[in-house]
Symmetry: C3
């Protein structure tokens, strides 16, 4: 059970506050659901009605909003970011034991720092290095020559193939598979010849990777996820992809081989990105969009058709197939009209 | 090897039958493939030819069809549902051992009922409760404070994060990950600040969840899967989603954060559903559809373009980009025509 | 560290070479990145500039190109396939130990050949057979009655449900789940009655299956993956699907139940394929395409709209909904024009 006074919270995150310094805060909640010992936050103008009726013990608001409410407030130019920082004080996750579970199978060549936590049934192969305060969840597999930085957290049942490199503060959720073979085969007489994937995967500082997400090892050079990248669940990142700093990729996205995604991009859920293309920094791809070509300029990009009732949609789809024909008929109509108008004018002249 | 007489089957499921009470049935098959000791079923009129030629020892049919065939029959108003119920008699899955495997790592605080089955290398953390007759497959990870109801089945290598709650009769297939962090970050100076996910996941009665499916824990309140929901493989359900009773979700669907899906909905495979929207009860979303807005009315909804040869498709896509221009040109054509027609009439008047 | 002379490489793969027989080759790289002991390859005419400037110790080229360069060369009619074959000589993956790890839990009924490698915490149930030289990675679960052929490789944390059959030379990557229940339920009074899945999964010779891919067991008959099929990561293959010989399926594809895919097909990443349909041999489905109907003829098929800026796209989407109306207005314009032209002509005649 967490408990802070308003004053304590303000001093921990070094912001100003307004109201009762001794107001006790035990949890975080929404404006609507908050009770009198909950902290809440106001970022979305549409929630103004909730702000006026909330029972929250304190609210994170901008200096301007702080004038307009009698509630206890924590004041920030970016209330949503302050909320994010404060969630770390109300963490419910049980602490790791910082011990090595006796059931773990660790290659004799491996030397681990005292501060790591190795869960039950973890398997660590030869030549692995793990940094201080890193937590390896139960059932994880750490392949040969893997290096894991400081303060990394692997949740249970993660698989890291040989030669994978994680920088510090990397978080991998359960079922993530890093370093499996890229999908590479050469066709020869109706058969596929396997291309052994000689590269590896390198993951930067402060990267978080979601559950059951897959990042394949490179064919020749490495697949690279740069610092600060955030990747959601069930994402497929193929061999030799590079994802630039601080880019965020939502769930169910697929990125095909050798594509380069810029920095500070946002890729919406379910988007498919073609191989061997480049997305510029700051590109935002809408959910479910199909990206077939490179994108040279920052901006928001979309594809697909809007949702319709199945009945109407069937009509639209038939016409979609006829689009080229329709366009040509419009052209010929335009020609005929012009001719007709001409003759009209001549008559009037006569 | 299963074996029943026609009479036995009829009495077990309490339906009428027609034909030889002593007909032996050892398995279930399709009309086409059935041999003389197989039970089959007729639900699809297109399979009438198979019905006339089947070698099945007995067939599940409606009372009306029973008149039209000389085969042995089991009679039901809903033959497909009766087939479904009867499959449970021909189950081939090996029974669990209902023992605790010595290799399982179970926190000392945990008290398990005698009737549970705990597989090899299962890890069970502090404060976990598991109901009678539940089966936990090999290599599953059960996090702190998880509660699992009665007669649940977890197939091997499932991961349940801390605080996850499963009601009775819940089935989770291998690789499912329940309770991983929702994808929540607040942007601040080109960086992402992690929002600690303080909620959990609650899963209702008689829910089945497919292999490698992910259901994220809530940001503040819980992510909720209501009673009777069926979810296929490789589905992503983001934080704070609510899925209503008896809704079925096919494979590869992605549902973004805070969206509410109604009861008795059907979501087709590969569909992408936007965040912060609401789907009414009884909504059917076609496979691969992109749902960007709330749907207020039950019905079937679709999006996307039909499949074309790549050559024709390239033409359609070019025109899709020109659609707005095409529409405007049609308008101006209509104006010109009206003018021309007017002047025509005047001439005739003169 | 691998090391071969040019002459050795030529003789191993039985091709001609040109240049210094004693040139030492220690690795494979791209034309651009290669250093003087790297082997590279030239398949893409667009890389001609790199060919002219590469520092590679030798290059795989066609006989024709061999005339045009002074580099050391290995000569092949299909340089890309020769590159693929040669990657196998520069393999970095640590060898398995070909031992049975003491932590593995193996049912007493199971007899294993001496040459297999069974990793830590592997669970092998009753009645399993495994062929010579097969490698089962750490944490894999091998269900009852599974049969695994010779020289198969299961990477860590693969789950094989009961009755799954793998032929020889099958590779399964981490997190793959083979034989989970197909998604089958019969509706009865707003509820779903589970259809027990009585079939299994059969996987052919030289099949490779990617990380976290799911292949469901059949409802009555088996789900079948034929010889030489290659499947990427995060692919969903539903019950009773059949995938024909040497077909390749890229990442994030979903194939719904009872669909039959022909031989030598290529399914692009993120494609969704409907259930109960048939794709002919040699069909190529573009990435992210939606296949709703059977395809009878080999060829390349696509769907979807091109990517646009969100602003332009919004306009196109509105018009997509109006397509049927637009088409009808074009028709009526064409009628009116014809009438006007007629009267025009009459006037001229008068």
């Amino acid at each position: 059970m967490h408990s802070y006074t308003l004053q304590q919270l303000a001093s921990i995150v070094e912001v100003d506050y307004k109201g009762n310094p001794n107001q006790v805060i035990t949890n975080i909640s929404t404006l609507k659901l908050a009770n009198k010992t909950d902290l809440s936050f106001f970022c979305d103008p549409r929630l103004m009605p909730d702000l006026l009726t909330t029972k929250a013990g304190a609210i994170i608001v901008t200096a301007e909003m702080a004038q307009k409410t009698d509630n206890n407030t924590l004041i920030s130019a970016n209330p949503y970011a302050l909320y994010a920082r404060l969630t770390h004080l109300f963490y419910n996750e049980p602490d790791p034991l910082y011990m090595i579970h006796p059931s773990a199978c660790i290659a004799s060549s491996v030397k681990l720092p005292e501060s790591v936590s190795i869960g039950a049934n973890v398997v660590i192969e030869d030549n692995v290095t793990i940094g201080k305060h890193s937590v390896i969840g139960a059932g994880c597999y750490i392949g040969h020559n893997v290096s894991i930085g400081k303060r990394c957290q692997l949740y249970p049942n993660v698989s890291l193939y040989y030669d994978t490199k994680l920088d510090d503060y990397v978080t991998l959720h359960s079922g993530a598979v890093i370093g499996a073979d890229g999908f590479g085969y050469a066709p020869e007489n109706d058969q596929w010849i396997k291309i052994v994937q000689l590269g590896a995967v390198r993951i930067g500082f402060d990267v978080e990777i979601g559950a059951n997400t897959c990042i394949d090892r490179g064919a020749i050079t490495d697949t690279i996820i740069e610092d600060g990248v955030k990747i959601d669940n069930l994402v497929q990142i193929a061999h030799n992809v590079r994802v630039g700093e601080n880019t965020a990729i939502a769930g169910c996205v697929g990125i095909a081989g050798s594509t380069s995604i810029g920095e500070n991009c946002q890729i919406g859920g379910g988007a498919s990105i073609n191989g061997h293309i480049t997305l510029a920094d700051g590109v935002i791809v809408a959910g479910n969009a199909m990206v077939t070509k490179s994108i040279a300029k920052a901006g928001v990009y979309s594809s697909g058709t809007g949702l319709q009732t199945n009945r109407d949609w069937r009509r639209s789809v038939v016409r979609f197939r006829q689009l080229d024909d329709m366009a040509k008929r419009i052209q010929s109509l335009e020609k005929k009209i012009t001719e007709l108008s001409k003759t009209k004018i001549q008559e009037e002249v006569l």
